[in-house]
Subunit: 195 residues, 2 copies
């Protein structure tokens, strides 16, 4: 086969609209995905954080959403989020397992200070106010903690604290966050635009 | 008992922080609810729409959220949303049942026009672009369609169409929407502020 034919064939494949079955969603491939997708094929990953399984169901990087993002997160026994804050609203729904929500008592102090503790349980829901410092722990011994998490203003910009006494001004910005890092470089022209 | 004592007793009750068990959440009572709530006690209602069961898990009216709102909706066989649009983002996750998403093909025409149709199924997810005219039907004969729904910019402001040929300019604004109507009058001072 002459080189020109191989080149044309390659060009044909590169320019063809990619139609990927919903059960095969590679990282960062967002253009040409079906509008209605099967969640069972979604990539999950711990993004280097032991005990975490994270799936972005819909959001900024995969879908080009600008106002909301939805995650499915599972924490193995003993694992937890960092102590952190973000300037967005957040809603949790606990699907299974139990644990503890730690929440700084006051938004207006120099540092988070000793947090209030709230038990979380299956079928419970709670919302985190904008910029409230918080942490969620799976405190169970043998059960995963699985939660749906809604955030506004995606992709999330997270400030991480070493402990509850660290001043707000020293919290470290992690952006893009673990699960947005790999695909964050994509331009909005790459977003799925099938209607 | 003298009037002054009765008055003091009444004042005591009115000023006491209301602590209501999570399984008893009356309409419009939002101040003093626990931060972590049991969803099984949440009020559900059809709000005058046959075949609908709607629960606002967290949102503008109950929680004072300004950027995100989360609903759990169940549609009986044959029931559906109106043909409508809203200037917010929306994410659906189908928990059980199946149906059809109807979505106008183009945002820039004078009217929605004949919609594209997409099958929706358990464990599927889809997002509706801002202002895209859409409708969700439970087309199954004997199974409920249950979905989690995330919206931005709550409380939702909905423009309703009689049919797919109605010009955008004639769509009727329904605001506050069915499930926000009863409690919409509350001021933000009534919102839950427990941390």
């Amino acid at each position: 086969m002459p080189m020109s034919a191989i080149f044309c064939l390659l060009l044909f494949f590169l320019l063809s609209p990619l139609k990927v079955p919903a059960h095969q969603i590679p990282h960062c491939l967002i253009k040409g995905l079906p509008l209605v997708r099967n969640l069972s094929g979604y990539p999950q990953n711990n993004f280097g954080r032991e005990g975490l399984s994270h799936i972005t169901i819909a959001g900024a990087v995969l879908d080009g959403l600008k106002e909301v993002e939805l995650w499915l997160q599972t924490f193995s026994p003993g694992s937890r989020t960092p102590i952190h804050r973000h300037s967005c609203e957040e809603i949790f729904v606990v699907l299974k397992g139990s644990g503890t929500l730690f929440l700084a008592p006051d938004l207006h102090m120099r540092q988070p200070a000793k947090p209030n503790e709230f038990s979380i349980f299956p079928n419970s829901t709670f919302s985190i106010p904008v910029n409230a410092v918080h942490q969620v722990w799976n405190t169970a011994e043998d059960t995963d903690l699985q939660m749906l998490v809604v955030i506004s203003r995606p992709p999330v910009k997270v400030f991480i604290y070493d402990d509850w006494l660290m001043p707000h001004s020293l919290a470290k910005l992690k952006f893009p966050y673990y699960w947005d890092e790999e695909c964050f470089h994509l331009s909005k022209d790459d977003y799925n635009d099938e209607l």
